[in-house]
């Protein structure tokens, strides 16, 4: 029995050692390798000026083509939209930009049904894991992630939890300098053609009284002299409760409402709430002209 217990103890100690070692190696790779997501990209830059920054969910990620914005306005721009992002994620991105001293003339934030949401998304959480010891990110996660202490203090647990985004394949790709299938300098991720099936989407029937995170964003922007412009990206015609955008406009009077700009042009949509590449290019022209006019 003693021999078996010795064996088991050895294996347990080896496991703990491996977890510490792997945690160190993965963190080193992610912090020093080429950035492969937008959070890593922002954290890899410092003291930079980008005139127009676009923040939001996939409805920014697949919608804003910075190249076109820059061609028309003559100003630099970047798309920092991320799949599944929620208002808390927008706020964090704004704070990260400020922390890295990346200054901009205007930060455009896409808002829609997310006005009724608080919180953060799993995908964004995964991007933050290599930087969990950073004070800003640490306090962000502490407030929002119920597993924060496990993620921070159990070695390698953060990489196991988010292995689909930060596992071996991602660490290996980062280590060998494999570029992601998105150009992070621009940040635009195109969708081509159509998803298929009938276009349809549903917006909420009711709108919340307010969104606490947006209030925080506004306060933060004011305190740090950042100009925020909210906008709502297009939806297809077959959207239930499309008047949600009008209700939102009442809540945020300065919001640029582009909800209906392609109401007769379904071929611009990948699906009802996401533009395809053709639509994104058209919309970016509209957006750029709107910037010039305002």
């Amino acid at each position: 029995m003693k021999k078996l217990i010795k064996n088991i103890l050895f294996l347990v100690l080896a496991t703990i050692f491996l977890m510490y070692a792997l945690d160190f190696v993965y963190t080193y790779i992610y912090q020093n390798g080429i950035p492969r997501n937008k959070v890593a990209y922002v954290l890899s830059k410092q003291n930079k000026k980008i005139d127009y920054v676009f923040i939001g969910s996939s409805r920014v990620d697949n919608t804003i083509v910075p190249k076109i914005i820059t061609e028309i306005t003559g100003k630099s721009s970047i798309n920092l939209g991320m799949q599944g992002a929620k208002p808390d994620d927008y706020y964090l991105m704004l704070q990260l930009l400020h922390k890295q001293n990346i200054v901009s003339d205007t930060v455009f934030i896409q808002i829609d049904y997310t006005f009724n949401m608080e919180g953060t998304s799993d995908i964004i959480n995964s991007s933050l894991m290599p930087y969990i010891n950073d004070s800003l990110i640490s306090s962000f996660l502490k407030e929002r992630n119920p597993n924060f202490y496990k993620l921070k203090y159990i070695p390698f647990y953060r990489y196991l939890t988010f292995d689909y985004k930060l596992g071996f394949r991602e660490a290996f790709s980062t280590a060998i300098g494999k570029h992601p299938n998105i150009n992070l300098e621009s940040g635009y991720f195109p969708k081509y053609g159509s998803q298929g099936g009938k276009l349809a989407s549903v917006l909420p029937e009711f709108i919340n009284k307010e969104n606490n995170t947006l209030n925080k964003i506004n306060t933060f922007a004011k305190a740090n002299d950042i100009l925020i412009v909210y906008f709502m990206a297009p939806y297809c015609a077959n959207t239930t409760n499309l008047d949600f955008s009008d209700k939102l406009k009442v809540k945020i009077p300065s919001m640029l409402n582009f909800t209906r700009v392609f109401i007769e042009e379904d071929d611009n949509f990948f699906n009802c709430s996401h533009l395809n590449d053709k639509g994104a290019k058209e919309f970016s022209k509209i957006m750029a002209k709107s910037i010039l006019n305002n």
């Binding site: 029995m1 078996l4 294996l11 080896a14 196991l160 292995d163 689909y164 071996f168």
Partner: protein, 477 residues
């Protein structure tokens, strides 16, 4: 409770410590403790279904004793029939009720007669197919006078509910497992160490091989209409390794856990993908079920004796029933029938027991003939797995139709930066490892075993799938 869960990580050491250190010298207390922990293990999933296990235990315990005390053949048979009806009735109700109702309705609707469906919302109790077969084997063996009935209720109840193999086997025979509850257990270092190796290897098979494949398999099978030949081919290969890693992994963990507690369970998998024909495959795949059907169905039907017609009938019955055992869907039935078709030529040519030895026993590599035989057997198995994995038989045929007619063998993007051929290297390394160690139970035993164990842990940590938590496939059976 899943073997690859945090709860089990706490459960197993606790059971081990109490079992060996507190109850070491008290066999009865050890058995009662095992029974209690087994019920806890099962109840962790859904405590309400403990009543089913308890009922099945009570019925077969009483019937076993009654059969042994009865000398009149007719009455003994009647008691056996009661046990069969009770156990198979429970299994039939929980597993097949809705299937029969739906099939009945669909059959009439095919003739244009609309019927009202009234299927029930029945939850399938985890492991019911496994423990039902285990208790049945006991009653049948007592009836056949192959074993004496047990008088110790706790021993019998623990035999039925023994947690390492309760929910997904191996399906143990009473003649092997039951006597082990009756003799004092002495801690055996070598047995426990081999158990530890099996647990680690099983975790590797499940978390690295099966779960990695699952991610790709799910994408391929849910979107097969839009994919090319190469992707569908890799999809079926990935599923072959998913189900192998999943089920062999579970079996290895189960056998390993039992060994830590001083029990020897039967081997359930013996490198099935190195088989040279389908008959050999079925001697190496899910051995406890194959031998169960052989002993309690195939041989009583006449086996390979009798006329050609009877032989063909027997083969089809055993394979179709085996398919149906896996699940209440025509896809499983078809999968079973397809395997019968594969098996039949071997039986009729009396070649079904040709490959009983270890492949390439005295050489490093198989010869060309053996290599081609393995390749053909594996390909046939992969085709059959398509039926096993698909949602319907028509989906299976569409899948195979595209696979064989699309003829585009290019690299294809699946999802989340994953491409169709990416797992081939991992599977190749896995196959090489299994090939090198094919003469032993698992690769970790032998020279440098501690080093190999640490490397396995390293692989589980780095290559294992944690976020897309996959349940063991065979739980649903």
């Amino acid at each position: 409770m899943l073997f690859n869960s945090i709860a089990f990580l706490v459960f197993l050491p606790s059971v081990f410590i109490v079992y060996w250190f507190v109850f070491k010298k008290h066999l009865k207390a050890q058995n009662i403790f095992l029974l209690a922990t087994s019920y806890l293990f099962y109840g962790w999933w859904d405590y309400r279904f403990l009543a089913l296990i308890a009922a099945s235990t009570l019925v077969d315990y009483c019937i076993g004793l009654a059969i042994a005390n009865e000398n009149v053949r007719k009455k003994r048979k009647l008691l056996l029939i009661f046990s069969l009806v009770f156990n198979l009735g429970l299994l039939g109700f929980f597993k097949y009720f809705n299937f029969f109702i739906d099939s009945w309705v669909e059959m009439w609707e095919a003739f244009g007669i609309a019927m009202h469906t009234s299927s029930l919302n029945i939850i399938l109790p985890v492991g019911i197919s496994f423990y039902t077969f285990q208790t049945l084997s006991y009653t049948i063996d007592v009836y056949r006078k192959k074993i004496e009935p047990t008088k110790g209720f706790v021993d019998f109840a623990t035999f039925v509910a023994f947690f390492p193999q309760l929910v997904a086997g191996p399906i143990e025979r009473a003649s092997n497992l039951l006597p082990q509850f009756k003799i004092p257990r002495v801690f055996d270092y070598n047995l426990a160490k081999s158990g530890l190796h099996l647990i680690l290897w099983g975790l590797f098979q499940k978390m690295v091989i099966a779960d990695s494949c699952a991610t790709y398999v799910n994408i391929v099978f849910s979107n097969y209409e839009n994919l090319n030949s190469l992707t569908l081919m890799t999809g079926s290969i990935y599923f072959a390794f998913q189900i192998y890693g999943d089920f062999a992994g579970y079996s290895n963990i189960a056998i390993g856990v039992a060994r830590l507690l001083g029990f020897r369970l039967m081997r359930n998998f013996n490198y099935p993908y190195f088989s040279r024909d389908i008959a050999e495959f079925w001697r190496r795949w899910h051995i406890s079920l194959s031998t169960w059907f052989r002993d309690y169905l195939y041989i009583p039907l006449g086996g390979s004796k009798g006329s050609k017609g009877e032989q063909i009938r027997n083969v089809f019955i055993i394979f179709v029933v085996s398919g149906f055992w896996h699940g209440a869907n025509w896809t499983f039935v078809f999968w079973g029938a397809l395997n019968a078709l594969y098996f039949l030529p071997l039986l009729l040519a009396k070649n079904n027991r040709k490959h009983l030895n270890t492949i390439a026993e005295n050489s490093w590599l198989p010869n060309w003939k053996e290599f081609i035989q393995i390749l053909i057997t594996f390909s046939l198995t992969c085709i059959a797995w398509v039926f096993f994995r698909s949602d319907s038989i028509s989906d299976s045929f569409s899948y195979l139709n595209i696979l064989f007619t699309n003829l585009d063998f290019g690299l294809q993007y699946l999802s989340m930066e994953r491409y169709n051929v990416e797992l081939i290297l991992l599977l190749f390394l896995f196959i090489v490892t299994e090939w090198v160690f094919r003469k032993q139970e698992e690769p970790l035993t032998g020279k440098y075993s501690l080093l190999k164990a640490v490397f396995t842990i390293f692989c589980i940590l780095t290559l294992g799938v944690y976020s897309e938590h996959q349940e063991f496939i065979y739980f649903q059976f």
